[in-house]
Symmetry: C2
Subunit: 420 residues, 2 copies
Amino acid sequence: MATLVMKFGGTSVSDPDRIRRAARRVAESRADGHRVAVVVSAMGHATDELIELAGQVCRTPGRRELDALMSTGEAVSAALTAMALEDQGVPARSLNAFQCGMRTDAGHGRAKLQGIDADLLGRLMDAGSVPVVTGFQGVSDEGLITTLGRGGSDTTAVAVASALRVQDTGGCCEIYTDVDGVHTADPRLVPEAPKLGAITYEEMLELAAVGAGVMHARAVVFGQRHGVPIHVRHSQRPEPGTMIQRETPRMESIAVIGCALKPDLGRVHLQGLPRSAGVQGQVFAAIAGKGVLVDDIIQTEGPQGVDLAFTVEHADLPETKVAVSEVLDRLGAGRIDLEVGLSKVSAVGTGMRSHAGVASRMFKVLGDAGVPIRNISTSEIRISCLVPKEHGELSLRLVHEAFGLELGEQVTLARQLGSA
Amino acid sequence: MATLVMKFGGTSVSDPDRIRRAARRVAESRADGHRVAVVVSAMGHATDELIELAGQVCRTPGRRELDALMSTGEAVSAALTAMALEDQGVPARSLNAFQCGMRTDAGHGRAKLQGIDADLLGRLMDAGSVPVVTGFQGVSDEGLITTLGRGGSDTTAVAVASALRVQDTGGCCEIYTDVDGVHTADPRLVPEAPKLGAITYEEMLELAAVGAGVMHARAVVFGQRHGVPIHVRHSQRPEPGTMIQRETPRMESIAVIGCALKPDLGRVHLQGLPRSAGVQGQVFAAIAGKGVLVDDIIQTEGPQGVDLAFTVEHADLPETKVAVSEVLDRLGAGRIDLEVGLSKVSAVGTGMRSHAGVASRMFKVLGDAGVPIRNISTSEIRISCLVPKEHGELSLRLVHEAFGLELGEQVTLARQLGSA
């Protein structure tokens, strides 16, 4: 008897009809013989509506009361889901963060989970009941309500699954959402991109970082740390989605598992920076001070001093320029070049670790098609090329095809690297 | 420095604008030097909307999950009220039933309060913060969310006031609502009826029972038991309302403090019931089985056996008739007469205990005006006459005038009973 944690996101519980459908799904899993706990997000736009209300009551809502306010969204959907389950003959009990001992630190709006009363959940399930836990929220040591921030409900679900040790029962954490799983590329850009049956935590994290937004990285990291398999699947369709899991021997025999495109990037190129220590620190501290996230930093040394290049979201370029210019003025050295209209195409795969030739194949296929590569960055399991925006989607399709990704997990290493 | 509990009902926090006004009111009380705790109801129709949602999710929502669902309504208004207070420079903290240790029994939908963590409230107030407590809800020993049922938020407020021992500080429990206090009669029927500055718990309870619905009886009983003065006042107007409190010597020198009209009553008259024990029990058990509330039972014995008369709401007559007829069939004795279109006019006053002549004056003024009295019932501090509906409002005005109630608390005993 496997233990499953079934998590339903905002779109999967956005109205009474969808809540009833989610409950049916839970009833089916129980009928299949599984022990089930449920985690729910707030209904559709409930959180946005609460935030809007807060804005009408005061100028700048404090984080603490905003958390107390927002936590009601999941409490509503948890109670409704429990009602829908009982209506279908499945005993159920909604549990808010107080009731299931969902402890966090005191970081309002971005709290970190510290523990869950797994005993209570276990007792309820032993008694034949389905616990329906509010996602996204917790209680601090001082007894204050906290929320976990973006990706919070997914993280709650994985944490509940970890506390229940689902992996030891052959179970997993199921994330029900409005996509059918993880594809080898975004199917809106590469229609033939197949859904993957499985992917490693690391691959999922790399793909998420370079633009494939199926699941928030935070929950994946939590799953990776605790070894919880995460099954991402569509809430309205019966077929399996994608299992995010530890590496298996089969996975090592594929070099590239997927690719992704991150559009609308801008490149900042600083030339002639002094060689003195601490210069980089000053530059990136100034940028971080504006709340801008920096991607793919590359440093080289030329005859005129240090060259530093990095990318930011297109929309963040103006603020970045202001921040960097101030630093250059202070240093009395260096000059700044901006380039807009760039996209980043990336290939990701755990198998890259043990197989050479992926990078060269990727550069070759882009070069043969006349796509200029503006920047290259890599991790152990990822290769990214910055290309002009107008070549972005073509580059994605070229890379997808170069590694035979239309074959999905059926692709062989020979097909991926044979002609490299 | 008096401690005040300020309770804002659903209409007083029905939208962001009213929540800001309620917060201003709290800020003013603090500026006047008071220690303040706040209790709030759910915003306007929030509870109704949640119940409607539940009805869309399942056929018959269970009481337990319905309580969990409904409790979110007060959590929303508490958080918003705390935000509005902080926006006006008043430190505040919303507290749900878990956070302020609002313990109840396990009676979902009609739970009874058993205790509150007054220490936490005291510590917050000592630290200069205003606790904003969710009304209407509690937590059972099993950690389940309960709701208190009708009049619940008022009861929470009085219980918080009692726990904080406001009466020992010269403070009270302020109930902010959409009426300006308790009048000597309903001002819609008797325009000259003045607002009372003070009234005893018992008078308020008697008036509530005979049709003056300013506050739910439950909270008044709680206040009476614990000696908490309750100040009923208008949320949008600055002037004081009515203080519900223990009897004072001044009050004893008035015989009648107010009067009320309860319209749309029906009278059931059973004649010729057998004299055997247990007959009354059978009759009223059958009526209670239909969920009908019975008023003013009068029993007499005639030559044909026992006569029993009582009143019920007009709308409950058909069900009452069915229930009673079944009993008479079983007994094989007695007959039933129904009379519809009746109203009950009542005079109430603690001073009646020590002053005779109130009843005779009331009967005389009705008799002089040609109003037929169908039934008379009394308590220690109340006299009620059942009259034909078409004479109801006239009777109320006659009684109001007979006891000089247009003078309010300025009336003298001589004026009330002088010409009796």
